[in-house]
Symmetry: C2
Subunit: 426 residues, 2 copies
């Protein structure tokens, strides 16, 4: 077992951070539900709540802004969007107080969230926790507006996508909290998408690293950015449902602790991404800097490339292939065509509609034969593999979308994921 | 003529403060309308806009709070209510920028509104204008959230009723502005309620003092609290319509300047308040402290007393009569009955339904015969006067509500108020 750093205590209790998304604070009933959860946790812990805007409020504000000034960005959009969370925090604090427990709401700036000065997707630079701690010492449940902060100059900023999750994990790290519970409308992370495989089972525990690789299974539940932060500061997360608070949800903890348990399975989950396209560039000269030139050009246009495959050069030329989100295929092809005029002889091929199926598992690291087993399963199902990419804990194959559900189901069965509901970590 | 204090200039221009109420920022079209007004004024002045929450937003927030926690007050209510203005300021700033003029929105705390620490009806203690001035120097239209401020401890406060008007006047005073224009959905202050007297005419100019006495004519347009502040700091106001920005509206300026013009009419306007009841306490001992005891008890229960009449004592006893808002009659009577048990012999009478008709005019100060003319008019109309109270610039009579419209029409005609549309101040 690894030695754990002792958690900070206030009033002789450790602290829990509870994050509630928009669907968990959508109306009066929801707010009452989460207030009860907070008050219950407060019997044993100091409790900090981080909340999002109610329901679809943020989308509504964006629509309003776009009517006034199409595609507005920057400072004023942040001023507008930051109001959504302010409504939720005050209503939550009122509700908790009415139910009999002292509470206080804090805006991003009151809670001490100092961010860098870029608007709309600011990163947290520092959390000045004095005010939070003072209120926890006074036995109050502290309700903090997620998604927002303030620059050193007093300008309101928002954190962009996944902002509230990130706020919650950051505050858990800053307070050296016992745990950060991400409450949402699903009860945990599953071995695969239950809409594709009915036997998908809820994971008891998963590592930060696996969670990141399984983004497509969990991105709507837990934003990768917050998982990155949790990994960096070793924050234990728990994904759970505010509609079923008595179920345990899924723990997301450090890979090191998962490995120490020696209870890891070879494969934790199967992810499917049907929003992929690929581009192949053939006959690329095997010269230093050429490949970098391609990907720098794509990055400059904010096109995020996923899988990148380059085979061994033959006769001083090379083939490079990569996947991009479907919507980015057109601009990506435009960039490649531009490069083609500079580097004569390059041939460009593409497929606008492919699927990527991935298996993820911390257990792969110490086990051999996982990749060959995966290829065998697909072969048995007569599914052709177009591209392969691997990382330490993930193997991805690009296949025809018509085969994607069949692939997920076959892999899920072969790796016995429908049995994974057995506890793998107490 | 009085000597005027020179107005402060920034970028060699004086500053205008424009205040827009909820109905002036109710939707996209309204926001575009007021943005145009601001940009037009910005060609000749530095422009600061103070806005309220959109339409009925604040009422909606109060309803939401009451569902969660009935009759909630204090800190969390302020946190919630302050969000309404934050939506308006950012949308207004976006709109002005989209129309081509630089703009910046500032929350109450960013704009430097420091208040005392009482919630829900905080008074402004100080405005730290550095940030506003810096942005005016940068040629930006500064859009400020009305109705809100912050305590020295960083707690969000709201200013209570009339808060946005008060914010606007306070900032005009702090910036030594040229003028504060209160934009609303009516085009000025009238000699009387046009629904009662069709010949009511718009006043070109009125003194702060008269405006205060005519509260019932203007309270929905301009809160008395903001007029008090304007009077204290000698801020020129102009009440005008955001729906007809080319009309001049009504100027509200210092009584001293009005008098210096020697253009004051005897009577400026006729006000009617039909929401009155009266209580008479007969046979009150003429002993020091007794009357004070009555009104202290009423004040302790937050009952605002309007007219107070006490006649000359006869045989060591006195009659005291006063008016209260209809809704407060029951609790006021309860207090009086309680005092009755202490002071035997007192007799209490009341009328739950009376009307108060008032004439107001700065010109009364130097003219005699105004009161007698008023009584004559009412007598000719066969209207009985139940109570009379006078101040330097106002005479009020309590009458039967059935006669109230007839009284207003007769007074309006007799004092030639339907002719007051002639300019009385250039």
């Amino acid at each position: 077992m690894t030695q754990e750093i002792e958690k900070q205590k206030i009033n002789n209790k450790t602290t829990l951070v509870l994050k509630f998304g928009g669907s968990s604070v959508a109306d009066q009933e929801c707010i009452e539900r989460i207030s009860k959860i907070a008050i219950k946790e407060a019997t044993q812990h100091n409790v900090v709540i981080v909340v999002s805007a109610m329901g679809k409020t943020t989308n509504g504000l964006v629509d309003m802004a776009n009517k006034i000034s199409p595609n507005v960005r920057g400072r004023e959009l942040d001023m507008l969007l930051a109001t959504g969370e302010l409504v939720s925090i005050s209503l939550c604090a009122m509700c908790i107080e009415r139910m009999g427990h002292p509470a206080i709401s804090l805006t991003g700036w009151q809670a001490g969230f100092i961010t860098e000065s870029s608007h709309n997707k600011a990163r947290i630079a520092e959390i000045k926790t004095e005010k939070i701690k003072k209120n926890l010492e006074a036995n109050k449940i502290v309700v903090i507006a997620g998604f927002q902060g303030i620059t050193e100059d007093g300008e309101v900023t928002t954190l962009g996508r996944g902002g509230s999750d990130t706020s919650a994990v950051a505050i858990a790290a800053a307070l050296n909290a016992e745990r950060c519970d991400i409450y949402t409308d699903v009860d945990g992370i599953y071995t695969t998408d239950p809409r594709i495989e009915k036997k998908a089972s809820k994971l008891e525990c998963i590592s930060h690293e696996e969670m990141l690789e399984l983004a497509s299974l969990g991105a709507k539940v837990l934003h990768p950015r917050s998982v990155e932060l949790a990994k960096k500061y070793d924050v234990d997360l728990r994904v759970r449902s505010s509609f079923a608070p008595d179920t345990q949800g899924t723990k997301v903890i450090s890979l090191k602790r998962i490995k120490d348990m020696e209870l890891t399975k070879a494969v934790t989950g199967v992810a499917l991404d049907e929003n992929q396209a690929w581009i192949g560039m053939m006959n690329v000269p095997d010269t230093p800097g050429i490949v970098s030139k391609i990907f720098t050009a794509l990055s400059d246009k904010n096109i995020s490339v996923d899988m990148i495959i380059q085979s061994v050069p033959v006769d001083g030329i090379n083939d490079v292939a990569f996947t991009v989100p479907k919507d980015d295929l057109k601009p990506a092809l435009a960039i490649c065509t531009e490069l083609q005029t500079e580097m004569k002889g390059i041939k460009i091929v593409s497929d606008s509609n492919v699927a990527k199926v991935s298996i993820v598992g911390a257990g792969m690291i110490n086990r051999s034969g996982i990749a060959s087993k995966l290829f065998q399963i697909l072969s048995t199902e007569n599914i052709n593999i177009q591209m392969i990419a691997t990382s330490e804990i993930k193997i991805s194959c690009v296949i025809d979308p018509k085969d994607s559900h069949k692939a997920v189901q076959a892999i899920h069965k072969a790796f016995e994921l429908d049995l994974s509901s057995e506890p793998i970590l107490a």
